[in-house]
């Protein structure tokens, strides 16, 4: 008789570690990561390149053996019960690594064979998934002829062939055009509504804001922030004012801005300050800079965003992130 008790978490990491190299060349890529992801949750895992996101995902998906700590997925240990983990997870990898010589349909059939699905279901499953990701017309074409967006969608379909309970999506929308990205977001939401737990790694803060219920930010192999996006934004508190001035005036402007709150990481060519007194301080900032003979070339006020959370946690902003 099925029950609805929740003794285990779909994804759990306790002090997860991964070290590469030996001796003086040893690098700690992941240094004691703790994660508890709840059933039916979309969890965002953020971090800059090289922060340890993919390494963590590779450990949790059994591709890489941890050098320390514990990883459990779908209630199974990622080292001792790796095959049980594999049976329960779907993974769409960062590079949409798909054999370009095969057709989408052939790859889905192969995937069905490797997951031990009954032969009688292969054709139906493949057809359903191709339709679901909008690739029915391209199903019999070689993957080498697919666009980047089509490959991503096929990659997602491949990861769903066995109806996994836990889905890992490693930067699934990187390099996609806005329409393809939104279409993939809709599919992720639909899967989540069907009960699939999703761990999503991304560099797009907007994506995390749109899709996830909770996020963790990893930097240099360590989780530096964890929580609901709204809570984390609230923790940042004050809005950020971005000011552009002439290059020669950067130094005096920085000194003056520091009087209005803490200086924050900002896009290149601008200065950022968290306004302690809120938006009402903007007029004072302009007046102070004007009195000092500094011409303001541009000025933008931003309410706290995930980018601010990210910047506060890591000390820098992601390239291309919405300020």
């Amino acid at each position: 008789m099925p029950t609805t008790s929740t003794n285990s978490l779909p994804i759990e990491a306790i002090g997860l570690q991964r070290t590469f190299g030996t001796g003086d060349e040893q690098v700690k890529a992941v240094d004691g990561v703790d994660l508890q992801i709840q059933q039916g949750e979309i969890f965002g895992f953020l971090g800059p390149n090289g922060a340890g996101k993919s390494t963590t995902v590779r450990m949790l998906t059994t591709l890489l053996r941890p050098t320390g700590g514990i990883g459990r997925v779908a209630g199974f240990d990622v080292v001792e019960q790796a095959n049980d983990v594999r049976r329960n997870i779907g993974v769409a990898l960062q590079d949409a690594a798909i054999d370009p010589l095969m057709t989408g349909s052939e790859l889905l059939h192969l995937q069905a064979v490797l997951y031990g699905l009954p032969k009688s279901t292969h054709a139906t499953k493949a057809g359903e998934l191709l339709e679901r990701v909008g690739l029915t017309a391209a199903g019999n074409r070689r993957v080498g002829t697919y666009s980047g967006g089509m490959r991503r969608r096929l990659d997602l379909a491949l990861s769903l062939i066995h109806e996994p309970t836990v889905l890992f999506l490693d930067e699934p929308t990187t390099g996609l055009d806005p329409m393809s990205r939104i279409s993939l977001w809709e599919e992720i939401r639909r899967l989540n509504n069907d009960g699939t737990t999703v761990m999503l790694t991304t560099q797009y803060l907007e994506e995390a804001d749109q899709l996830t219920e909770r996020i963790a930010i990893i930097d240099h192999g360590v989780i530096v922030r964890k929580g609901r996006p709204s809570e984390l934004k609230a923790e940042v508190g004050s809005p950020t004012l971005f000011v552009s001035v002439d290059a020669a005036a950067t130094e005096p402007a920085t000194t003056l801005l520091a009087g209005f709150g803490e200086l924050r990481p900002s896009p290149e060519g601008t200065l950022g300050v968290g306004l302690t007194d809120g938006p009402s301080a903007v007029s004072n900032v302009i007046r102070t800079l004007d009195d000092a003979g500094i011409t303001v070339r541009n000025l933008e006020l931003h309410e706290p965003s995930l980018d601010d959370v990210f910047a506060e946690a890591t000390g820098y902003r992601l390239e291309g992130a919405d300020a």
Partner: protein, 273 residues
């Protein structure tokens, strides 16, 4: 409603255990499809041994004048070598293909499936055996057109095919093992160099009786010499008995076992990166 596992409280797993054989056959089919769609990856391993058999037999036709040479047809001496080379290419080609999959990331997708790890080796191995069978058949057919004859009738094909399939298995194990360890094209050079060096440091071209110095010593202890001897059994003017056969079979079994263990351990190492 989602069905929940009573023990874990999580949704029940939807997939049964995958069996080794169907998964291996699935991977073999994929490899065969790739041969058809990327002929350039297979054709050289078919053309080279044909060319080599004909060219060597023509160039070194006088080799049969060596006193005690075991056949009066030079093509009978070189055809089995062509089969060995072609089958070696077939096996090593699997190593190349695996490097491509590792570099491209597709191998991660295979490793993410619950297919038994053995199937990741057996599947490519089956593909190499099919390739070896094709190469052996084609080389024999072309060699026959150029005058090769089975001196003991069709039964002489059995050791030829066994040697070819065995060498393809060795090439596969060696190729996969190196591919897993290096994970890039560095492995390709090592695969080819070591494999073909070992084959040529045998009676591949000339009999032991005309070799001298270190070459003779190496050829005498090189187990591949027994394998080449096995492949030639049906083409020489000497008895084809069990006594002539078992050493070649033993060499094959031992080397195949060693290279398969080498491949399996390499596969495990992939998780250690």
């Amino acid at each position: 409603m989602t069905i929940v596992d009573e023990t874990t409280g999580l949704p029940e797993r939807s997939v049964a255990n995958t069996r080794t054989f169907p998964a291996s056959v699935g991977l073999m089919k994929r490899s065969m499809v790739n041969i058809v769609r990327l002929p350039s990856a297979f054709v050289p391993s078919l053309v080279m041994p044909i060319f080599q058999t004909i060219a060597f037999a023509g160039t070194f036709f006088a080799i049969t004048q060596i006193p005690g040479f075991p056949t009066d047809r030079s093509i009978n001496w070189f055809l089995p070598l062509g089969v060995i080379m072609g089958s070696g290419f077939a096996g090593i080609g699997i190593g190349f293909a695996t490097i491509r999959d590792l570099e491209g990331g597709f191998y991660d997708r295979l490793r993410l499936t619950p297919a038994p790890r053995a199937s990741l080796i057996v599947g490519p191995l089956l593909s190499a055996l099919v390739r070896s069978f094709i190469v052996t058949t084609v080389v024999f057919a072309v060699g026959s057109l150029f005058g090769a004859r089975l001196t003991h009738g069709p039964s002489g094909l059995i050791p030829l095919y066994l040697a070819g399939l065995g060498i393809a298995s060795i090439g596969t194990g060696w190729g996969l093992g190196l591919a897993y360890r290096f994970r890039d094209m560095r492995a390709a050079a090592i695969m080819q160099l070591t494999f073909f060096l070992l084959i040529f440091l045998t009676e591949a071209q000339t009999p032991l009786s005309v070799m001298e110095g270190w070459l003779e010593h190496v050829a005498r202890i090189n187990p591949f010499n027994q394998v080449i001897g096995l492949a030639r059994l049906g083409f020489l003017d000497q008895p084809m008995t069990w006594n002539e056969t078992w050493t070649g079979l033993l060499a094959l079994v031992v080397i195949v076992a060693l290279t398969m263990v080498f491949a399996r351990r390499g596969l495990d190492k992939l998780s250690d990166e």
